[in-house]
Amino acid sequence: MLTATKQPTSIFRMLVVLLVLSAILIHSIGTAKAQSIGYDNRGLKIDLSEDVQAAIDSGVTLTFESQFAHAKYLIFFDWHTEFARHEFQVTRHTLSNRYLVYESNKVEPHIFSSTRETMTYICQASLSSFSNHIAKHQAQQLHLPSKHKMRLRLSKTKLPGPMRLTAFIASDWDLDSGWISWQSDQL
């Protein structure tokens, strides 16, 4: 009697290789080098590209996320535990020709006449919020490590749907400071 041919075991090996490559790709995307949001002279600075500027002026709402984390060094790697997150929604009010910044914990927007002022405010507010969080945690728990991490980035997943794919592909939309380590005295 004839028997059906079995699937070769190499298929499972190839599947494992595919999964490993996918994990490496995802990891590389997650740890991409920060662009357009830099740390200079003890402060953050956001440089908007022309596409992003045009998007704001066209009424596209941008969401900036600032993430705060404790840093740990364990088994040759830097690990961090996120403990807080702050959001800034930036939009343009056409009738008044002003830029509005809605913060996650406030109802009324902050109004700015230019994007430069708007971005400056976001950077300062992020640092201020980070400083407040660190101070609050240090006051509550003295044994926490003195090294912390902060990250400010443009959330691509909260962009309007049709623009999301383009934002994921185009480097102009990579507004991300990356994880920046801060000592307590820097704040």
């Binding site: 009697m1 004839l2 059906a4 070769p8 190499s10 298929i11 190839m14 599947l15 595919l18 996918s22 045009a54 998007a55 066209s58 009424g59 596209v60 939009t91 343009r92 009010h93 056409t94 009738l95 008044s96 002003r98 509005l100 109802v107 009324e108 927007p109 109004i111 006449s113 997943t157 962009l159 309007p160 749907g161 049709p162 623009m163 999301r164 794919l165 383009t166 934002a167």
Partner: protein, 735 residues
């Protein structure tokens, strides 16, 4: 999937859906590519290994691929065109103009309201400047009054450094004024009125107007007045709606390119997923369709290789299933037929083995020629009788066997002519001078006609195959035995019929002489005496002849006993030394020869006959000499002893060479011709053999070969003799 695309185009939350479509599509493509690659690799490996069905599977996959690809390409092309035109149709020029006009209208309306508010605030500033010298309490009341009169939400006075001097609000719970930003004070320092429409919430908007008071001229620290007025709800709602619509339209215009890109990517992903899925399905279906055909091909190949009886799995009831079932039935029947054929072959082989055993043990020589007269079978007896090896005969045609100039040429010529005669049965006799001397062969030929209708059937007639079987026997010994028997019978009858009347004749002759001798005289008496003496002498002579015949006819019946042959030779030689003077008898005897089993008196007669014959042959020789030598026939097996009696006489006449040992054959005038016949008879009774050949000195050598153990058969002796037949004149050999 089409539903998802339409939903992604129409839904406001299309981003989430499109994003997940992209992710799932990408993962799906990766998975399908992976399985497609593994299937392609598997198919390629099977193709390289020349596995049955791989080529057909590849062809079907290619056909399915093109059948899928052509409509898919058309649909994809028109979908892209439709998508581009569909998205472009959203951005109609009239819609865009309408949005712009509505925005402009809103701005104009708000501008009018703003001008009214500015006018009110500047009038309030003039009023405050006019009442600047009044007490603070009255001034506060004025401010409150002005706020109420002008319908303001909040009215406040500020110094040049931003301190609040007076404040009035419509909200009683509001204890602090809404302080303006630094930007406002910068405008005030330039003595300009600052105005701003501030959105508080989607439905609440307010005007913030700050006007300078120019307090330096008054000597007071008044600097500016700020008025906040909420936009009426109807205006605020409409403005908010226009703002939202305008923003959304601007956003759509901005996202036009990315939207097209996203939709094309999404459509491409879905299409590619569908295409890959179709190809994968094509591969699966091809394998499924080809599997029964591959099984059939594989099964057929196995049957071709001799693996009968293989069964295929019957997986379906369609035409392929019927074909598979038919194949299984065919395979079973072939297996049964093969088993029957195998059994038949085994039986045939057994019969062939039996036939070969029979042919091998047959004393008759058997040849079998095929329809081309090519020798196919030659048994061992045939090669032994002819003295030729199998290898030199097998495979050759009868005509080819006639060509070599060997001793059996005449034999094969007879066979060739017999085959060509096409007679069903034929028989012939042949005297052959071969390796064993003169041989009498009886040859019988038969034509075997086999009907080959099982193998080759023509439309006209069934082909008949003709084989030829030749059976031949070496009847030399039989004829010799018959001749010897006949001679023995003649001798016995002669001895019986002649010997009996001889004595009365002799007695009668002597009585006649005795009775008449005294009654006659003179010449008659002498005649009587001579006649009676002649009668008596002739009777005596006849008696001797009859006795000789009697000796020839009478077999040796005495028991065989161990005998020292050398001693017997010495005794006989000594006896004859004095009688046959001046013939010298020289003995060259090997003392190492063992005793043999023999009848001493019979062998003594043999020696006597041979020595007498030799002495007769030496009568005219100047230096007559008889040499008797004995030796072990070591060249053969050591079981024989050779005894040679050689003379240096004139040799054997050629005319009696062939019948030297036959009775009544003699070269002497007075010889009875029974001496050598008796010698041959006695030697053969001892299972030995005797033959004559020419000696080194032109004389005759009589060669006796006697077995040490006389129980050996005559046939065994003959085979041993043939091993050194090169030194024997075959024409003079006997026994």
């Amino acid at each position: 999937m089409s539903y998802l695309i339409i939903k992604s185009l129409s839904d406001d939350a299309s981003g989430e859906l499109q994003f997940w479509i992209t992710i799932i599509g990408s993962l799906g493509i990766a998975t399908l590519l992976f399985f497609l690659a593994s299937n392609g690799y598997r198919l390629l490996s099977q193709f390289r290994r020349n596995e049955i069905g791989s080529i057909l599977t590849a062809k079907m996959v290619v056909i399915f691929f093109f059948l899928t690809m052509i409509p898919f390409s058309l649909i994809y092309f028109f979908s892209i065109q439709f998508l581009n035109k569909g998205v472009d149709s959203w951005f109609d020029v009239r819609i865009e103009q309408t949005v712009k006009d509505s925005l402009l209208l809103s701005q104009s309306a708000l501008e009018g309201i703003k001008e009214e508010v500015i006018s009110d605030v500047e009038r309030i500033a003039i009023n405050i400047r006019q009442n600047q010298n009044k007490p603070a309490k009255e001034l506060l009341a004025i401010i409150r009054e002005l706020r109420k009169i002008n319908g303001l939400t909040e009215l406040s006075l500020y110094t040049d450094d931003g301190r609040v001097l007076a404040f009035s609000s419509s909200d009683q719970n509001n204890i602090l004024p809404n302080t303006p930003s630094d930007e406002v004070f910068s405008e005030l320092r330039l003595n300009q009125t600052y105005t701003l429409l501030e959105p508080i919430s989607p439905t609440i908007q307010q005007f913030r107007v700050v006007a300078p008071i120019v307090g330096n001229q008054l000597g007071r620290e008044f600097y500016g007045v700020q008025a906040i007025k909420l936009l009426p709800l109807r205006y605020a709602t409409l403005a908010s709606s226009v703002e939202t619509a305008s923003n959304q339209y601007a956003q759509m215009v901005f996202a036009r390119g990315p939207l097209k890109f996203s939709l094309i990517v999404t459509l491409s992903l879905i299409s590619l997923t569908s295409l890959l899925f179709s190809i994968l399905t094509a591969v699966y279906l091809s394998r499924r369709l080809v599997a029964p055909i591959s099984n059939l091909a594989s099964g057929t190949q196995r049957i071709a290789e001799g693996d009968y009886g293989s069964q295929l799995p019957e997986t379906s009831s369609d035409e392929l299933g019927i074909l598979t079932k038919s194949f299984n039935n065919m395979s079973s029947k072939i297996s049964e037929a093969q088993q029957i054929a195998l059994a038949s072959q085994t039986e045939t082989e057994q019969q062939k083995g039996y036939l070969e055993a029979v042919l091998t043990n047959l004393s008759s020589g058997v040849f079998s020629f095929d329809e081309e007269a090519r020798l196919q079978i030659c048994n061992s007896a045939a090669s032994e009788i002819l003295g030729l090896e199998h290898a030199t005969l097998l495979g050759k045609t009868a005509s080819t066997l006639c060509q070599p100039d060997h001793h059996a040429k005449q034999f094969f010529e007879l066979i060739n002519s017999g085959i060509k005669s096409k007679q069903n049965n034929w028989q012939d006799e042949l005297t052959l001078l071969g390796a064993h001397g003169r041989q009498m062969l009886i040859i019988r030929g038969t034509v075997l006609r086999l009907n080959n209708d099982l193998f080759e059937v023509s439309a006209q007639a069934v082909k008949r195959i003709e084989n030829y079987v030749i059976v031949f026997d070496d009847v030399t010994n039989l004829i010799q035995a018959q001749r010897d028997a006949a001679w023995g019978e003649v001798a016995r009858r002669l001895a019986h019929e002649i010997k009996n009347p001889l004595t009365p004749i002799q007695l009668s002759a002597e009585r006649i002489k005795r009775k008449l001798y005294d009654h006659v005289d003179g010449e008659l008496q002498e005649t009587l005496d001579r006649s009676t003496r002649t009668i008596v002498q002739q009777v005596e002579s006849m008696k001797e002849m009859v006795n000789a015949f009697s000796s020839y006819a009478q077999p040796v019946r005495a028991k065989l006993a161990p005998l020292d042959l050398n001693q017997l030779v010495r005794d006989v030689a000594e006896l004859h030394t004095s009688h046959i003077h001046p013939i010298e008898i020289k003995l060259e005897l090997d003392d190492k020869i063992p005793n043999i089993k023999a009848n001493a008196s019979a062998l003594r007669q043999v020696l006597n006959n041979l020595i007498i014959n030799a002495s007769h042959a030496l009568e005219k020789t100047e230096r007559p000499m008889i040499t008797i030598s004995s030796q072990v026939a070591a060249k053969i097996t050591g079981e024989y002893i050779d005894l040679l009696i050689e003379d240096n006489g004139s040799g054997i006449p050629k005319d009696i060479c062939k019948s030297l040992f036959d009775p009544y054959v003699s070269s002497k005038a007075k010889g009875s011709g029974l001496g050598l016949a008796i010698v041959k008879r006695i030697v053969e009774e001892h299972s030995g053999s005797v033959w004559a050949r020419q000696g080194s000195n032109c004389g005759t050598v009589m060669h006796l070969r006697l077995p040490i153990n006389a129980m050996k058969t005559y046939r065994g002796n003959r085979r041993q003799n043939s091993l050194h037949s090169h030194d024997i004149d075959p024409t003079q050999r006997a026994g």
